[in-house]
Symmetry: D2
Subunit: 326 residues, 4 copies
């Protein structure tokens, strides 16, 4: 078996609110409690942590202590540029003062990345975009998106910035909505330290083949990170990985392996009503089967089938390898 490392967004171990269950799906947890839960997951190596740290005032040192006792490292820091202050956008807020505030918050987060020795600042501008026709000047909005990211990347050349695109939510239409548009933007910015974090669920929600999106991001040298989950293709349900679309998930990892992409296999799941540790364990068990499946895949026969675009043969090969790994 290959030497895999698994990770998770620390929010996997938080509790959630939504517009109906305003009192939350469980007792609030702070980031320390979430880290201690993450520590209970078998085979978790790293976490991605929201900044500011949720649930109280915590120093970097306190976070580090909690991480250490749980044998966890930090892969990335996700500045919260989607809370109340940024409800009309972070990079694209109509108010330049708020855009500056977003810049400052992300710059602080960049400091945390350095302090933790993490790999990247994760940008998830979920409030940047629009809701209605005629609401925005589309050219101006896109320019602000790119200027905001570009400024950060050029001010922090020692760090990587990854953009996690999604079609929508919370904004009705997000500015960085798809793989291709995000790549277009990154190429326009033209800096080496901006890349993509590809979320499997966001890709299939947007009607993409996650495998195809991964290949394209890799071909542009921009696949800096990834995470997995599952959904019914019409919303970012953040269900447990492998539950609904195992073969497409398997193809996604096949493309990563084929290109020798060797980053962390991360989870971005929201177990609203489930036990978060059990949900993570289940996903990792699935991912281990995926890994065994990749070892078992008859690559030569697959290549031949793909050269012919022979779907049924290719599918048979893939199903045999993946399901045989269980």
């Amino acid at each position: 078996m290959s030497k895999l490392r698994f990770g998770a967004g620390i929010w996997h171990f938080a509790t959630y609110v939504d517009r109906y269950a305003t009192d939350g799906y469980g007792e609030p947890r702070n980031v320390i409690e979430a880290i201690d839960l993450a520590g209970k997951v078998r085979d978790l190596s790293v976490v991605d942590i929201n900044y500011p740290f949720f649930g109280g005032e915590f120093s970097n040192a306190q976070i580090k202590t909690a991480l250490e006792r749980n044998k966890l490292g930090v892969i990335g820091i996700t500045p919260e540029i989607y809370t109340r202050e940024f409800r009309k956008g972070a990079f694209t807020n109509p108010d330049p003062g708020i855009r500056q505030r977003a810049h400052e918050l992300i710059t602080e987060a960049a400091g945390v990345v350095r302090d933790f020795g993490a790999e990247y600042v994760k940008l998830w501008p979920g409030q940047d975009g629009w809701d209605y026709p005629f609401q925005v000047d589309h050219g101006a909005l896109w320019k602000n998106s790119l200027d905001g990211v570009g400024r950060l990347a050029s001010e922090n050349p020692d760090l990587k910035f990854v953009i996690e695109y999604k079609p929508r939510e919370p904004r009705v239409h997000m500015s960085f909505d798809s793989l291709a548009r995000t790549l277009l933007g990154i190429e326009k910015i033209g800096l080496p330290n901006v890349g993509i974090l590809l979320d499997f669920g966001h890709a299939i929600f947007g009607g993409e083949s996650a495998a195809d999106s991964a290949q394209m991001a890799i071909d542009y040298g921009r696949l800096f990170g990834m995470d997995v989950n599952d959904n019914y293709r019409s919303w970012d349900d953040d269900l447990v990985a492998g539950s609904l679309h195992p073969i497409e998930l398997f193809e996604f990892f096949h493309v990563l392996r084929k290109n020798k992409w060797d980053g962390v296999w991360q989870l971005d799941q929201f177990p609203f009503r489930e036990d978060s540790v059990a949900t993570a364990d289940h996903a990792i068990d699935f991912l281990k089967a995926v890994d065994r499946g990749l070892e078992a895949l008859d690559l030569k026969a697959l290549r031949k089938a793909q050269e012919d675009h022979d779907a049924i043969t290719a599918l048979r090969i893939a199903q045999k390898a993946l399901f045989g790994a269980f």
Copy 2:
């Protein structure tokens, strides 16, 4: 012009949280503040109020005082059977104790309906359903849905209960997911005081023609209420009515008028980032244009076109009437 009455869910005037903006899209407001905002809307006659009253401890008398100073009546009461306690379902919760709690809460809400002289108890079981394949025994789940509603209806024969269906959210799949399924359930319950609240946005989100759904609910004698908003057909965006699908909204009201359905025209909008009073005013202005458009509609020519299924002629008649009303 016909004698219209407009209404709104009182939550239209609240502020919101979601899973990202956990600190909310604005300062929290209590129900009294929301009523005072509702009072600023031109031409609003009635509101639908969540129970328990949000934002504090308020007596029925306090609510009444606030309503009176704003010249507002109450059309319905919506018990909050979708908060933390009910996160795994109200009528279909696996725990019979929670099912009983739901029953008690709704029974309390029924008392408030009586006290306010409102028209109905609104049931919106947004947590009742499932997320994953194999999660539930579908027959048992549906039976619990119907038993729960049926028990309430038979214990409170003096009151009307309306079910507001929606395909999903917050549950990944809601038990009462569509017009037809809800009607099937209501016919199975077999009591006269259970009906449907048809939300235009929920219908088009579910791939229904809201006009067709209205006709069918009316044909079964079960259209007890309705509300409007708009969305991009793939999620319950709760945008301002008429913004995206004006002709379909117009057809919906045409079917109501044709059948002499004369209930309140209600708003169920969530202005996350907009001014709630301006949003309601704009919707009501649109609905007044719809009303004028209905007066202008050449019914004889429309009937002839519909007899021939002549889409282009029918559309021309409808566009002329609606757009001419602006």
Copy 3:
């Protein structure tokens, strides 16, 4: 292993046209050639045959000869009520003469069912519905749908009629669009010999859980037939069964088995660009694995998990049983 019988729509072995490849995806085949191809599939027992027989003038006797030499029986006959003559509807055509023509064609098809000793007449009214808002009088349209089916069922009490619902295509919105609406209509008709043919792909295309739909159809005593395929949930792609959504397909069959539903497991696939025999063989291999998976399913543990709505445990049990069968 249980005693399974597999079937297929004979169109599985035809070639296709669409609005772009108007010269077809292959050389035209007549029904006899299609039957001979069906005969090459391992383990196929029965077929559903379009009427009139496609590709030439053939007598029932000629069809029987072809079936016999391929050891195939007939499960149903599908009258072609969706061709040019019926482009504006069969049961709901605005022209009463065309409605009568549809009745006559289906009545002829009923004769073929008797002659072949088949199980049912399959009604797939793909042109019945609407395209545009305001195009039709929805109440009148639905009444015509039910009157048309009801007349057939009462004139042919010795036969079963099955309605195969689908959200859309070729009509932009089909009249029999979902499980629940079709059940509502069937209950209104009120005759014992009208039921549903549940197509797994149509169900998930319509946002249904096919397992839930099967349970409900069974609970009403109306599940007269079924077929399987797969799609991306947004169109009736008619891809090979099990390719995209294996767990949901498995749950569908679990519900059938649990209810002791023992009809034929049919294929409704359209291999536009694939070899039709290889595609059918692959699907049947998958269905055999499903059958072995059902034998392996830990029903007691599953029941316990479902009583708790414990999604992760239920999923683990299901994945182990299905994938372990490969």
Copy 4:
């Protein structure tokens, strides 16, 4: 009023087949008959013509004669690279011989463009893509897409080539699936004579804002053509323009006008069951209202509202201008 020119795909005036109505939605028409129908539409100036000419053997001279008697010019030629021969792809066919055949057919079409003095060769590679996971090597497929278009563009530097993207159909997933991905590809090709034909319906089907897509294509200097129609956002229904999403269509034209884009306003509608001349006339009437609406738009107030991202005010301004034009 501005000086508008209207156009249409000549297929608007053909009859259609699909996989069910294999005998077609009407009597077959040849291209000459279609041109004569197009000539009956009020205010149509140009057409886009499929190549080879459909319905018989016709010389360029015969086509020209028919065009002249109907006072029609030619805007583009659409080589039929999606028929039987190309069912597994044109640019991306696994067979290099078929790829070469596609190249030759398009090269012939380029000659017709020159002969007719048309503006561009339109590339609509509807069979290029994939259906199943694991079916293709995504990197190789995309490379073939770009190589095929690039070769044509470099061999014919005197001509423009426009790519019309669409998410899917007939291929389950098209290679040129979205605005952003097509732009990425065009930038990679790096030639000045490759651009985009933006179809309003394809954009909204893909979850894009057509207005936003137009702005981006213009910002890259690649908006070479456009056409309009409407759909329910989940399929390329090719319904009459303005029927379902008038405000979004209006925003699309607002962006074109604002950027002084002055190409032809084209129709790409498929009136399966409607009179094709009446459908085109209705669409053009709508587009003329759009044009009047653009004149009436309060641009200063709109700009102010957009600077604030004030959706309700912007919507009010837009609705007033568009609907007031009726």
